[in-house]
């Protein structure tokens, strides 16, 4: 592990997006672990009610409450939070209007559900507002979180999700929602924030990555790294494999050399090379975006709490 991950990951709010199925939750978790290394504290946040963090860490579903979920190398800790729009609204109202029991009564009659439903974008303002609050929170003159990592909505929705002002400005011309959304918008457009896009070396995720980067760039939201997940080791890079050669090799170590095995291995090697060629061209397409790229290895055993450390190590290793 490198000495100071903050040099490679300078932002304080790391927004992790990516097409569905690219592994953005595990990447976000690995990053939160990495940034907590060396005695720091980070917060890992999810906003879509999927309970993906709880699933990954094999814990009970997360409440709307910051909880320690893992310890990091060198005494650091990761806390996790599942933001719920309704509860965020109640908390917000409480803060500004001291609603107390009245707030709970409102919830009972369905008013809170109503309020978070009527204004499109309002949910997003509440969700991002809570993320902003955690990112900027201080206690005794010190930041509570060294970094906040947000497991954000997928690439298809990320622009709208982060572009909070535009959505609410259409409806709320004044009032606290407008003020709130402007504060969030300012934070999201400052160097404090970096949006990292997770992709696989597959056509559609790469296409969506390109689209998302263009969209975020147009919105003036700072883009961090491209994280290429589940990459395979560069096997058989430029070797020509023949069946005769395979047969000799298999014989040399006493493995079966019958036709089925030789032809099967040969076909698998060929398919691997075909896919590699396609992956190479996608990698070039990503490189053309001109963003720093980080590659994470495919974990053959699957991603779970135990294997997450490998992703963390790969995230923090400078290329």
């Amino acid at each position: 592990m490198t000495s100071d991950p903050s040099a490679a990951w300078p932002a304080r709010l790391h927004v992790v997006t990516g097409k569905g199925g690219t592994g953005k939750t595990s990447v976000a978790a690995a990053l939160a672990l990495g940034l907590a290394a060396g005695g720091k504290r980070t917060l890992l946040v999810e906003v879509e009610g999927r309970q993906g963090i709880a699933e990954l860490f094999e814990t009970e579903p997360l409440p709307y409450e910051e909880r320690r979920i893992a310890s990091a190398d060198g005494g650091g800790e990761v806390r996790a939070l599942a933001v719920d729009a309704e509860l965020a609204l109640l908390e917000y109202l409480d803060l500004f209007y001291k609603l107390g029991a009245a707030g709970r009564a409102l919830r009972k009659v369905g008013a809170i559900d109503f309020a978070t439903t009527i204004a499109p974008g309002m949910r997003d303002v509440l969700l991002t507002g809570k993320v902003k609050e955690a990112t900027t929170r201080t206690a005794e003159g010190r930041r509570v979180y060294h970094a906040v990592v947000l497991d954000a909505p997928p690439t298809g929705r990320i622009g709208r999700f982060l572009n909070v002002t535009a959505e609410t400005a259409r409806l709320a011309k004044m009032g606290p929602i407008k003020t709130q959304s402007e504060g969030v918008a300012a934070l999201l457009r400052s160097p404090i924030t970096a949006v990292h896009v997770v992709t696989l070396l597959e056509e559609m995720p790469v296409q969506e990555t390109v689209d998302a980067i263009n969209e975020l760039t147009a919105l003036g939201i700072p883009i961090g790294k491209l994280i290429v997940n589940a990459t395979r080791p560069p096997l058989l890079a430029d070797a020509r494999v023949t069946q005769a050669e395979l047969r000799r090799g298999l014989a040399a170590v006493g493995l079966p050399t019958e036709r089925g095995v030789v032809a099967g291995l040969h076909a698998e090697a060929k398919a691997h090379q075909t896919r590699r060629a396609m992956e190479e061209s996608l990698r070039l397409e990503l490189a053309e975006l001109g963003r720093p790229m980080v590659e994470l290895p495919l974990l053959p055993e699957g991603v779970d709490r135990a294997s997450l450390g490998k992703l963390t190590a790969a995230l923090l290793t400078p290329r």
């Binding site: 309020a115 709208r160 259409r170 409806l171 009032g175 559609m204 090799g249 170590v253």
Partner: protein, 387 residues
Amino acid sequence: MSGPARSGYARPVPSLDVDRILADPSVRIVVCCGSGGVGKTTTAAALALRAAEHHGRRTVVLTIDPARRLAQSLGLTELDNTPRQVKEIDAGETGGELHAMMLDMKRTFDEVVLTHTDPDRAAEIFANPFYQAMSSTFSGTQEYMAMEKLGQLHARGEWDLIVVDTPPSRSALDFLDAPARLARFLDGRMLRLLLAPARAGGRSMFTLVTASFNVFTKVVQKIIGAQLLTDLSGFVAALDSMFGGFRQRAEQTYRILQAGETAFVLVAAPEPDAVREAAFFARRLSEERMPLAGLVLNRVHHTAVELSAERSLAAAAELDELGGHEATAEALRVHAALAQQTAREQSVAAVFTEAFPGVPTVEVTAQPADIHDVDGLRTVGDALSRR
């Protein structure tokens, strides 16, 4: 999920006979659902193509958010919200037809408004900023409009078979829940409370809930501002005549989904998230008594070489030491990775098959490249029907 997840298939899983469903004239609707990124749209398009080419059915596929190149290959170059015939298919012998369309959420919403109200009222609604925001961004609008479009296509009676791709929602369940949520919202007590002051002469509901409502309006005004409240009241008043219609249509479509003419096809990839979503959805379908035809497990890897990953890796290491066998060593490592992936996928898939042993399943082998033409869809169709 209970039970050992790593035991692989404990018992034979019944296999999903896609051709039987597509050929069955009493099946009029196929709904493809599952979480994002599992190949739902491709599966829907491949099933529709197969129904047209092999089974001679006049088929329409309703896609929600197709990948650009797949859309182009189906002739969906513009979003015009009406089915267009796909000419490049090969249904000479069976006489089937394939039509395709891409859902335009806003336009569908506009059409709903137009059918339920007079042109003046409609113009008023269209001009309302609240309607504009809601018709394009409301979470749930897309699901509602997909249902609405399905209802429209079904009502026209022009098709032997309608294949529906579902929206790329946060959760696969949204497709079932969002329309009811939207209808409940439009029809809701809160909206009626808000509307009360705007209704001249109507019996005010204030008397019933004065206390909570006063707090409520105050809060709403504080949060969203008085202007929005006025816009909202106007919107609600304009929509008032349509409330019944909205709910009725949502309920109608829901009933069609419960009928025997519908077949739900779950789509998943052998990844934990996707399989978990599929399990949630299967449970939900059975609760709602909606007909689940089976599971399509996409992007599955296989190996025909009977050589374990461990043995392959050990042999590769041995070859490294011997020297001169680099290609074989690497080929063995490639095989080991594939064998590991295959084993992992099987154990992930077992989570579903153990929970729903009776649900017929078909595995579709991972394609070397993405599908973006009719030929590719045909290949997927063959794989789906194990031909």
